[in-house]
């Protein structure tokens, strides 16, 4: 029943090291991520002697250097001949020179585990380290995938889906319906949320039932899911849910939570009822064959179901909420998520700092400005006080001017106390004040999220059964908001009891008993 380790999706358990034929995320720079399916070294690939190669602005990275290394590893670029692919190799000599030059690096590569699996592929040219740059190789997570996936539609980003999954109570073991699979970012995040092991035959485990209307997107998504080892965790259906509903092979998925990323959620909502809606919501959406057969609800009959719809426009929200109210959803709540990323940097302001980028060369504070003004003033006075001869005034003024400017540098530097401090001990990365500021461009609106809950169906018979099981008339105590007199009385009684039964051990025992009862 437990699948062998190799079948587990790298999103759910990547293992300690990178593996062939598995997804890895290459981090080129902070926000520049590249998803790559690592290929085993099987000889020349696409003209590259090293096998499959990833080319980036930080250099070339043969897959062989990224296989079987610990996740998170920093990978050096390799010297890869990208120019002469397919053509006759002209630059043989150059290549040899490189090889010689990087002999030391090559030796190190031999020691690294990446280079040790050569027996399997003798034909593959061994990679040679290059100084052009490096990348980091990260295990795939829904967050990394969301920022690096190939966009097919608008993507549900992490700030939204993290909040949604929390609110719709997607937990290990939940069954979730997602309509509008789109680019799959929400699908991956929800698989992680509901995953509690791969299901054995006929076993109910956490699962995502995903519906996609667009055929091409459906096929791409299907491929992606199998590449990511999520085949058995996601049931993807190609269907128009407005008309087709949410049943899978005529059976109910018994969903605990629903996420609708559709242009018109209200047209799909009537399928998500406990009982057959008396007449279909839309005249055209009347599946006639359903009328004869028994109507099956796609929802879990034993639980309250949580729903979230994701719509960018307020008009969509109004219609959705209106439909929700009529279909018996409660706790309807609409929110909008505003997420901001913050950058930290060092802000350096001062007159005597160098002219690096990002340095503001104006006075650091009033004192510094004052010192400078006094300085200028005094020199001006000095200059004015200089005795001058009438005939050479024009020339001397011209000569004097640059002299003042020349003198400005050193005097200024000498006066400011800050210059000495910074120059002496502080490292350049510790100078200035630490500040945070937002990104240059922020997402101010993604979509409106409408949350709602549909309670269990509760009939007269259920109520009668519950009433028989928990009969009235044995009430002994009052809990909750009780008035002052009653509470005082209760406390007095408790105190007496405590004094009687006394010690810590007894109290602890009592608490254990209580918890035992609660647990049962």
């Amino acid at each position: 029943m437990t699948p062998t380790t190799r079948n587990i999706s790298p999103f759910l358990d990547p293992g300690p090291r990178t593996k062939a034929n598995s997804l890895a995320i290459l981090q080129l720079s902070r926000d520049n991520l590249l998803p790559v399916y690592l290929q085993p070294p099987t000889g020349e690939h696409d003209g590259y002697a090293e096998g499959a190669v990833v080319n980036t602005r930080y250099g070339s990275f043969p897959h062989s250097t990224m296989l079987n290394v610990p996740w998170g590893s920093q990978i050096r670029a390799s010297k890869v001949d990208t120019g002469s692919r397919g053509r006759k190799r002209k630059r043989e000599g150059v290549d040899d020179a490189c090889r010689e030059a990087t002999g030391a690096a090559e030796k190190e590569n031999e020691d690294s585990p990446a280079a040790t699996n050569e027996d399997s592929a003798t034909a593959v040219k061994k990679a040679v380290a290059d100084a052009s740059g490096f990348i980091h190789i990260l295990p795939p997570t829904p967050e990394l995938w969301t920022t690096s996936l190939p966009h097919r539609t608008q993507v549900v980003y992490t700030p939204d889906y993290s909040y949604i999954l929390h609110r719709i109570r997607a937990r290990p073991g939940s069954v979730l319906i997602e309509a509008g699979a789109g680019s799959g970012s929400f699908t991956h995040a929800s698989v992680r949320a509901v995953y509690n092991g791969y299901p054995a035959e006929g076993e109910r485990k956490g699962k995502v039932f995903s519906f996609e209307f667009h055929e091409q997107r459906y096929h791409k998504m299907k491929k992606e899911l199998s590449d990511h080892g999520m085949n058995r965790l996601v049931h993807l259906t190609h269907r128009d849910v407005y008309n087709g509903g949410f049943l899978v092979d005529g059976k109910s998925p018994e969903a605990d939570a629903v996420f609708l990323d559709l242009p018109a959620p209200w047209e799909a909502l009537h399928h998500l009822s406990r009982r057959r809606p008396q007449t279909p919501l839309n005249g055209n959406a009347a599946p006639t064959e359903n009328d004869q057969t028994e109507w099956v609800s796609p929802l879990n009959p034993k639980k309250s179901v949580h729903l979230c719809t994701f719509s960018p426009c307020i008009e969509q929200v109004t219609r959705t909420v209106s439909a929700m109210r009529r279909l018996g959803w409660v706790d309807i709540d609409m929110v909008e998520i505003a997420n901001r990323k913050l950058h930290t940097s060092r802000e350096r302001v001062g007159l005597n700092l160098n002219f690096d980028r990002g340095v503001n060369n104006s006075a650091r504070d009033v004192e510094e400005a004052l010192t400078r003004l006094v300085d200028i003033e005094s020199r001006f006075r000095e200059h004015a006080a200089k005795p001058r001869d009438g005939d050479e005034d024009m020339d001397s003024a011209d000569e004097d001017e640059p002299a003042v400017v020349k003198g400005d540098g050193p005097t200024n530097g000498g006066q400011a106390p800050s210059a000495e401090e910074t120059a002496a001990e502080t490292a350049p990365w510790m100078e200035g004040r630490l500040i945070t500021r937002g990104e240059p461009e922020i997402k101010t609106h993604t979509s409106y999220l409408v949350f709602a809950v549909l309670p269990m169906d509760w009939t007269e018979e259920d109520e009668a059964a519950a009433a028989a099981k928990y009969p009235l008339g044995k009430e002994q105590k009052v809990i909750g908001a009780i008035d002052k007199v009653a509470r005082k009385q209760e406390r007095r009684e408790a105190l007496q009891k405590q004094q009687g039964a006394g010690n810590r051990k007894a109290r602890r025992k009592e608490r254990d008993t209580k918890m035992g009862e609660a647990a049962a």
């Binding site: 996740w71 920093q74 990087t102 901001r340």
Partner: protein, 612 residues
């Protein structure tokens, strides 16, 4: 889980005033809602969550109110009336006939008066007190009489308001809402899950206790920490060590079995741990058993159903045992208390058997000698309790102090060798002394296991919400993380996180890898991973990648026909920030990154190759 309200379950009662009461619903008690009245708890036990109940008027011979389920048609009657009003744009009004018909035909009597009210200008100023002809005494009198769950009071209040017809539809709606909140006797029962609980703790209780951890932040921290179900339980084989055996008989750490473990520093009294446990499927117990209702022999709970591949589970947690625990509840648990252990065929585990799973665990590092996880009590878990009744957190929650993690040799309980005694000697002792002997040996074995396993590292992620300086936390926890493991730190304010992010700033990292730092020269990668920091480099800046700080805020809206807008006020206070990054494994030696520029051929010849 959370299908119907179980006896003794913790629930949240949502009252019309907007406030929430969190109660443990003991059977056979009366629940008082203050001014709204009281009702017997047995009237909600066994009923579904999220229904809206209304307190009915007391019958003449009863001292309590009975309850009635309020249909959604009733709840939304006003909105429906507004939508069907002629001048209101009603998007889904045409759909009104599709509604599942109300089983209860009772209508809110005011709707008819109201449906026709059209928007007016608010030229005439209305002073509410002046225009209300009912006196306070009269209102009190009305409340005392049978008053149809408060609706009569509201109706009378509105009808005796002399200027009602001068109100605009907006102010009328507001006035009515105000009076409804005050007098209507309705409530809703919500399950205590992390989302509901955190909201209540934040908005109505002590937000500082949970460090102002908002729902948005719980979601972000959980996702960026990649917290999820970490694999089926793997329990270690009982070593069956005799009581004469000491330290050497303890189970060694098997690093190959360790998977799906998260490291936590939690100063939110356990809310963060609860949120993570919820994401890992170890917070609620007997989930499936509950879903089965009261049927006999429910399937084993999720944790138990997965037979570990490598070993057997200890007797205490076998599925069979869990079942008996579920079915014949209170009587059995009392018995369990009285004789310490339930009667069972299987022999009790030896002192050195380890109850903890090797996978899917949460390891809490705490600053005091005991962790403060008091909020877990709401989910039936008390970390201070010995002989705890079964709970999934028991074998998935590990805790140790910073002392045990960093200087275990100074910790008495870790460094003192376990007591030993030959079986004959043991048999001659008094039961109490024998009990103490076993207890101490068990405790030793557990502490040793937790400390050694934690120090073995390779954690799948680090999640933090702590008042401690994050730099100091990372200094000691970064070496314990597996490569590529995510780090997610929450802080109510941005400053500590900014200072932390600054430790990984580009200039700092560049300086570090450039090789011009005298203090790290000649250190191996191993030593650099455990870099203890100095003023210039508080942390090894190459150990984290993708450092980023973010904040999120949900803005709530009111959605009503013709009156949709964001709420006017919301909770202020701390915004909350999340620091995220991934653990990197820096390459050995100096790494050059000069970029690839075509025109700088001269340069490439000049550079020396990367030294080994």
């Amino acid at each position: 889980m959370h299908s119907v309200i179980r006896p003794n379950a913790w629930v949240a009662l949502k009252l019309p005033s907007g406030s929430t009461k969190v109660l443990q619903i003991a059977p056979n008690t009366a629940i008082s809602l203050g001014k709204y009245g009281s009702f017997p708890s047995n009237l909600i036990i066994g009923r579904p969550y999220h229904l809206t109940f209304e307190l009915l008027d007391k019958l003449p011979d009863e001292t309590f109110s009975r309850l009635r389920v309020v249909t959604t048609n009733e709840l939304y009657a006003e909105v429906f009336a507004e939508e069907s009003a002629p001048d209101c744009a009603t998007p889904a009004a045409g759909a009104s006939d599709t509604v599942i018909s109300a089983t209860d035909g009772e209508e809110f009597s005011l709707v008819d008066d109201k449906g026709n009210v059209i928007a007016r200008s608010n030229r005439e100023v209305i002073d509410e007190n002046a225009r209300q002809t009912l006196t306070q005494d009269e209102i009190e009198e009305l409340k005392r009489e049978g008053n149809n769950a408060g609706k009569d009071v509201i109706a009378k209040l509105l009808l005796s308001h002399t200027a009602l017809d001068q109100k605009t539809s907006f102010s009328l709606a507001k006035y009515k809402l105000l009076k409804t909140k005050k007098y209507i006797r309705r409530f809703q029962v919500l399950p205590i899950d992390v989302a509901t609980f955190a909201h209540w703790q934040l908005e109505e209780r002590d937000a500082s206790k949970i460090m102002d951890l908002r729902a948005e932040m719980i979601g972000l921290v959980g996702c960026w920490g990649n917290v999820h179900f970490g694999g089926d339980d793997v329990l270690l084989q009982d070593p069956k060590a005799s009581t004469a055996a000491g330290d050497e008989a303890c189970l060694p750490v098997d690093e190959d079995l360790l998977r799906g473990r998260w490291l936590v520093v939690d100063d939110t009294c356990g809310l963060l741990v609860a949120a993570m446990a919820e994401r890992m499927g170890v917070l609620y117990e007997g989930e499936e058993a509950e879903a089965e209702g009261e049927t006999e022999q429910p399937p084993a709970s999720t944790e138990n159903s997965q037979e570990p591949q490598t070993s057997t589970s200890p007797p205490e947690r076998t599925p069979k045992d869990a079942d008996t625990e579920m079915t014949d509840a209170p009587a059995d648990s009392v018995k369990r208390q009285s004789d310490g252990k339930p009667k069972q065929q299987k022999p009790r585990p030896s002192d050195f058997s380890i109850p903890y799973s090797q996978t899917n665990t949460i390891t809490v590092v705490h600053g005091a000698s005991q962790p403060n996880l008091s909020l877990l009590n709401y989910w039936g878990f008390d970390i201070t309790s010995p002989n705890h009744p079964p709970h999934p957190l028991l074998n998935h929650l590990l805790n140790l102090t910073w002392l045990q993690l960093l200087k275990p040799e100074l910790d008495t309980s870790y460094s003192t060798a376990p007591l030993t005694a030959a079986p004959e000697t043991l048999a001659s002792w008094k039961p109490s002394r024998r009990g103490n002997f076993h207890r101490k040996r068990r405790r030793y074995a557990r502490i040793r296991h937790v400390v050694d396993n934690t120090r073995a590292g390779n954690f799948s992620g680090l999640v933090c919400a702590s008042t401690m300086d994050p730099i100091s936390i990372l200094r000691h926890t970064l070496p314990l993380l597996a490569g590529g493991a995510p780090v997610a730190l929450y802080s109510p304010s941005v400053e500590p996180l900014a200072a932390l992010a600054d430790c990984f700033s580009v200039p700092r990292r560049t300086a570090w890898v450039s090789g011009s730092v005298p203090e790290i020269e000649g250190l191996s990668n191993e030593e650099l991973e455990r870099w203890q920091g100095n003023e210039r480099f508080p942390l090894n800046p190459t150990l984290l990648q993708g450092v980023s700080i973010q904040t999120s805020r949900a803005r709530r809206w009111q959605v009503l026909p013709g009156r949709t807008h964001p709420l006017m006020t919301e909770r202020g206070g701390a915004d909350g920030y999340v620091f995220t990054a991934w653990r990197a494994k820096p390459a050995e030696g100096k790494v050059a990154a000069k970029g690839k520029f075509k025109r700088r051929k001269v340069d490439s010849e000049a550079t020396t190759p990367t030294p080994a």
